[in-house]
Amino acid sequence: MKFRIKHADRIVGLFVLVAVGLLCAIVILLGANQRWFAKNYEFKSRFTSGTGIPPGTPILMRGFQIGKIKKITLTEENQVDVVFDIYDTYYPKVRQHSILELSVSPIGLGSQLLFHPGKGEEVLAEGSYIPAADTAEGQAVIEQELAEIPPRDDTVSRLIAGLNPLLENASRTLVTVNRTLTEVNRALAGQSTGPLGSIVGDVSKAASELPRAVAGASNLIEDVEGRTDALLTELQGILASVNEVSASLAKAAKEMEDPTGLVPKLLDPKGSLKTFLDDNNALYNKVLGMMGDVERSIRSLREIMGSLSSEMPKIASLLEEGKTTLQKTQDVLEGLANNPLLRKGIPERQEQQSLYRSIREGDFQ
């Protein structure tokens, strides 16, 4: 079945426009995320070493990234000149007496470049010099408390402080374990009144009742022995009856051996059976043949039934699959029928054609 799409050119055009639009949107969003369209303000600083401040190092203020290192240069005086950007959003924070501080973790957890805003009123102009905290100028700012420096976060102390609750918890657990063990000991000694003590008491009680249970069992066995004797007596009576029946059967068999009995009459050369059967085994052979046929038929029937029963799951599964496929096909066709974008996929109304035939005759003789 061949499908064609209605207004294919328009739909393709629409999708192309949508795709182009989405691409533009993605590019713009990415650019906005990468601050392609945002303005950065450039400042300068100087450090004694470039360690920990390669280009791209983020500049943090109270956990927020407010800028990044743009360029570092080693001067002739073996100092490191740093050019860094402050994002436009945070530019108003760059006030007079601001400083930069390279904070290095004492236990090797890396370094952070921190920005401490000055307390001055004036916002520094772009390109201004902002001293590092370890320079004389920076130290002066710190000593005079001209910058907002947050309290130090001593990581080691914090770790040690965190250990105390752990130790307390461990101590508490040990005490609890000790108390539990004491309780168990008391229960075993029969001094406890709790659930464990009552369990131990119950076990002791059960042990004391054991001899009485054994005596009960002995009585039961004696009772069973008495009943068995009675059963044996009844069985002897039944055996006597069986003997009587056997004797009757023996007598009947002897009567059948009587030359004037029914069987000899039937088997007599003039009797019905003898006449019927005295056909040189023809009937017997026929019956044998028929039996053989029946046996063969039964065998083949059994084989057929066997193979059928082995095939039944397959047949059932095939039927089920067929049914499922038909249902799915129906769903798909219904879906296609509902789709206005497709045409010629679902059979449209076919016009029944008339037969237009004219008379074709005429002799040429």
Binding site: L22, P92, P347, R357, I359, R360, G362, F364
Partner: protein, 329 residues
């Protein structure tokens, strides 16, 4: 929202967000429009399905009729009729009855054909489209003509012609059929005029089999007027059209006519070849009488051409066909 953000101290407005929003809006709208369309209402599927089934059956019937398998054609047309009746599709009923009548006509059951066409005419009577009535009348006229009642046939054709004014296919059939009656009456000019008009319509509508029939009849008229060369030329054109249409019955008739004409003109070799091809087609069509006619002619022609092997062969074919015809009930 963007106004609030930009008013926040220290936060510069972002230029990317409004641009992204301007793209997202049409995209969302397009998605909503496309997804909303999937619940469009459906036509009444059941009636269309049965009408389509009737059309399918009718198409199958046409195929069998073209192969002269009349029993199968009738069976499928009757199925088509049943489907049309089931959904009270009166137009379809009229079409199916016309088709069944044509099977009877082709099979030589003229009484049945006439009765069926009359019933089709009854069904077509109340229909808005007069071309159904015109076609039924054309078919009825053909049945009457086949019974030898040319006058009644002409009456039917004349009655039908105004009704077919807007249906060129039926009009072409009617003009051709009327030309047949004119030819029988010896009115050559009127017959040729109708035939040329019909041929023009059929050629334009690319109804090649019908166009072939028009040319065949024009050739027949030319022959009757004594212009055998023109007749030969027209028959060759008719053969060409029928071959393009793969109209086996038409091809066989054209070839036989060409053979007869060639023989009459003394071209025995051509006649032999035309007869042989006609014989082959008639055999595939299971048209025993026509095949026998060709085989007998071929045996005679082969003798005249000094081809003893062909004489023996075609006499043998003729004998076998004759015996099979005799064995028919």
């Amino acid at each position: 929202m963007s106004a609030n953000l930009s008013a926040f101290p220290g936060r510069a407005p972002r230029r990317g967000r409004p641009a992204a929003r301007s793209f997202l809006v049409p995209v969302t709208l397009a998605a909503a429009v496309l997804s909303a369309c999937s619940t469009a209402p459906k036509p009444v599927a059941e009636v269309v399905a049965r009408k389509n089934q009737a059309a399918e059956y009718s198409k199958l019937g046409d195929g069998f009729l073209a192969k002269r398998d009349y029993a199968s054609a009738q069976r499928f047309y009757e199925e088509s009729l049943r489907e049309n009746r089931a959904v009270d599709n009166t137009e379809g009923v009229a079409i199916s009855m016309n088709s069944i009548g044509r099977v009877y006509l082709a099979a030589g059951r003229l009484d049945d054909a006439e009765a069926t066409f009359r019933e089709a005419l009854d069904y077509a009577g109340p229909l808005k489209n007069p071309s159904f009535r015109a076609l039924a009348l054309a078919n009825l006229g053909e049945a009457l003509y086949a019974r030898g009642d040319g006058a009644a046939a002409m009456e039917a054709f004349q009655e039908a012609l105004p009704l077919a004014a807007r249906d060129e296919r039926t009009l072409a059939v009617l003009l051709h059929d009327r030309a047949v009656v004119y030819r029988d009456q010896g009115e050559w000019a009127a017959a040729e005029s109708d035939l040329r008009r019909a041929a023009g319509i059929n050629q334009r509508l690319k109804r090649l089999a019908e166009y072939g029939a028009n040319l065949y009849l024009l050739g027949n008229i030319a022959h009757k007027k004594g212009n055998s060369e023109a007749a030969l030329d027209l028959l060759r054109q008719a053969l060409e059209a029928d071959r393009k249409a793969e109209n086996s019955a038409g091809i066989a008739a054209d070839l036989e006519a060409l053979a007869v004409l060639s023989r009459g003109l003394g071209s025995r070799e051509d006649a032999f070849h035309y007869y042989r091809r006609a014989f082959d087609v008639f055999v595939t069509l299971d048209s025993a009488e026509a095949a026998l006619r060709c085989a007998e002619a071929l045996a005679v022609l082969a003798a005249e051409l000094g081809r003893p092997e062909d004489v023996r062969r075609y006499r043998e074919y003729a004998a076998r066909i004759r015996s099979s015809l005799d064995a028919r009930p």
